[in-house]
């Protein structure tokens, strides 16, 4: 055994982590549930490269992504970067390779993404994302499909309780256009709205005595436009122009469709969520779960991104952080154990060994997890080893070709049911 202190000599770089058995199993199960869900909705998976040219990934997606890129050089001195999300590489694939395919395209992916951001709530610099994009379809029917699929995916992945908060960048963009403020004021307003600082909004208004009352009212109401479907009605009263009205109309028709999907109970609204204003072009949404202070899924409509890589095409999608989904599930009591073998099989050294291995193959074919003892343990030692590792049963190939089984229910060995696989099949764990 290596010296206990030797791990001190092999530190992990900042921002990465290993997942051990139970967590890896949970990740695989979540991925499988997500894949089953989106595949049932007609989404096809693609596999994307881990790194690309930095200028591809930093295309007009805002300084935040740019600052968080992991960059390095290839052998020719060109700058490469690890993907900070999957949406940009997906947009590149669509823009450069799939642009003439029949639309709409339904794409899905899972994989690691990399960002220099302070580790928070399960997100290291490298973290796992799963997501979908619906490409080539403008309009609220596509929006609704994507939001409803988000709810279906979270449910399928084993999260009982969550909320998806819907917004629309058109509402705030329309408000800014209606206010026609100097650039500096616009930046301050956006910053105050992003932090939901009701006080700062009042202070800002005090600096702009020339603003018409209806515009003042719109600004002051913004932070209150967060909550149930009643928000949409309240928002109508403060619409300054057609852009704001259109955003609301989109959300209303989205709300009806989501009702049809049967996911309205998961949905709330927030018309003053102004993050990623430069990236999204229509609806936006973010999912929250009790016990996790951070959003775990986010998405929206981004009709201009694909145009950076090829013919423009409307698109809407989401990505969720698997690490956060796992934390949210755990805080809601969904804790899954480590997967263990169903049987520890021993006594292979003698003449009975061959028969035992044949039994193992037949049992595995029936879905049992059978682990073979390579240490040559005697029957009692074999049972102790199984018990110590949480394996429910030990099977021992006794002399004379007889297979004997021992489990926690009885204190002694008995003959393994031969010929009848019915009982053996019931040993299978899920």
């Amino acid at each position: 055994m290596p010296d206990r202190t030797s791990s001190m000599d092999r530190p992990l770089p900042e921002g990465v982590r290993d997942l051990l058995f139970a967590d890896t199993a949970a990740f695989r199960r979540m991925e499988a549930a997500l894949q089953a869900t989106w595949s049932a909705w007609g989404y096809r998976e693609i596999h994307l490269p881990t790194f690309e040219y930095a200028d591809t990934l930093a295309t007009d997606v805002g300084s935040q992504v740019d600052a968080e890129l992991y960059r390095f050089f290839d052998r020719h001195g060109r700058t490469l970067a690890l993907r900070p999300d999957m949406t940009i590489p997906t947009a590149r694939v669509v823009g450069t390779r799939l642009y003439d395919q029949p639309m709409p395209l339904r794409l899905a992916y899972t994989g690691s993404v990399f960002r220099y951001e302070a580790p928070r709530a399960g997100r290291q610099h490298e973290f796992s994302q799963a997501g979908i994009e619906l490409i080539g379809a403008p309009g609220t029917v596509a929006d609704a499909e994507v939001v409803a699929l988000a709810a279906a995916a979270l449910q399928a992945a084993g999260l009982p309780e969550f909320r998806i908060t819907l917004g629309h960048v058109g509402f705030f963009r329309g408000l800014l256009a209606g206010l026609a403020l100097p650039e500096r004021m616009t930046a301050r307003l956006q910053s105050a709205v992003a932090r939901k600082s009701e006080v700062e909004l009042s202070l800002l208004l005090a600096e702009m005595p020339g603003l018409p009352p209806v515009a003042r009212q719109a600004v002051l109401t913004l932070p209150r436009l967060s909550g149930g479907a009643g928000v949409l009605a309240a928002a109508e009263a403060v619409c300054l122009n057609a852009t704001m009205m259109r955003a609301l109309a989109d959300l209303r028709s989205l709300a009806e469709l989501l009702d049809g999907y049967g996911v309205s109970s998961f949905v709330t609204y927030d018309l003053a969520e102004v993050r990623d204003l430069g990236y999204y072009t229509g609806i936006t949404f973010e999912g929250f779960a009790p016990g996790l202070g951070f959003g775990l899924i986010s998405g929206g409509r981004y009709d201009t991104l694909i145009g950076h890589f090829g013919p423009a095409s409307p698109a809407v999608g989401w990505a969720l952080t698997l690490d956060r989904l796992l934390l949210a599930r755990e805080s809601q009591g969904m804790i899954e154990g480590e997967p263990r073998p169903d049987v520890l099989l021993g006594g292979l050294a003698g003449a009975a060994g061959a028969a035992a291995l044949g039994w193992a193959a037949a049992a595995r074919e029936r879905g049992l997890k059978v682990e073979v003892d390579p240490l040559g343990l005697e029957a009692e030692a074999l049972w102790r080893a199984a018990a110590a590792r949480g394996i429910a049963r030990a099977v021992y190939a006794a002399a004379g070709g007889l297979l004997e089984v021992r489990d926690a229910h009885a204190a002694e060995w008995r003959a393994t049911p031969h010929g009848s696989w019915e009982e053996v099949a019931s040993w299978r764990s899920l």
Partner: protein, 216 residues
């Protein structure tokens, strides 16, 4: 009984002011005597639960959702740079974060300093302030007695909180610049703002009108 909202309060004077305001806003708050060693206190009406934490930790508790809302100084909030909502400013905890130096310091504009050594408990804000002005400051991060640093030659300047300025004057220091005007701020977790929307909204409105009544 519905779950109470968890409120993170900064141990010390800010907590007393915060509790007084919450009481004026109609919430049951723990009596002053209770504000001792216990770290978790329940309001008698079951609407709020209070956790008492170090002032600098309030934004962390709230960002992670360990507290739904919190009351923190703006100085601490900006220094922490945490991702939280900050609906209200509250009328207490007023102070300024200032750059100060020895009163016998040569009368030289800050921007002409070569690479000033600056002692502070607020490294992020200090770094940002000087970097924005093109000055490569050398930060000396301290956890207390910052005023001492220039007196004994540890630092050229300090960045520290000032209420009246008396401590600075007593130590032969003068204010050179104000970095931030600070006061208490109500902050809220982004998820709680959605998941406990009605309760958070009620708290914001109750505090806002209590503040309003006090200023009218």
């Amino acid at each position: 009984m519905a779950e109470p909202l968890t409120v993170a309060l900064p141990k010390g004077r800010l907590a007393d002011d915060a509790l007084a305001l919450l009481a004026r806003a109609g919430y049951a708050v723990p009596a002053n005597g209770e504000n001792g060693r216990r770290l978790v206190l329940d309001g008698a009406d079951g609407r709020l639960r209070f956790i008492m934490v170090k002032p600098a930790d309030v934004p962390v508790f709230v960002e992670y959702g360990a507290a739904d809302v919190g009351i923190a100084g703006l100085d601490v909030l900006r220094e922490a740079g945490r991702d939280v909502y900050e609906p209200l400013r509250l009328p207490f905890g007023y102070c300024r974060l200032v750059v100060a130096g020895r009163s016998d310091r040569p009368d030289l504009p800050l921007r002409l300093e070569r690479s000033p050594r600056i002692a502070t408990k607020f490294p992020r804000l200090t770094e940002a302030f000087f970097r924005k002005r093109g000055i490569a400051a050398e930060l000396i991060i301290m956890s207390g007695s910052v005023e001492l640093a220039p007196l004994v030659g540890l630092a050229d300047l300090i960045v520290d909180l000032v209420q009246t300025g008396a401590t600075l004057r007593e130590n032969g220091l003068v204010e050179l610049r104000t970095i931030l005007e600070s006061q208490a701020v109500l902050i809220a977790n982004r998820a709680s703002y959605r998941l406990a929307a009605a309760k958070v909204r009620a708290l914001i409105d109750a505090l806002a009108s209590a503040v309003q009544r006090a200023t009218d």
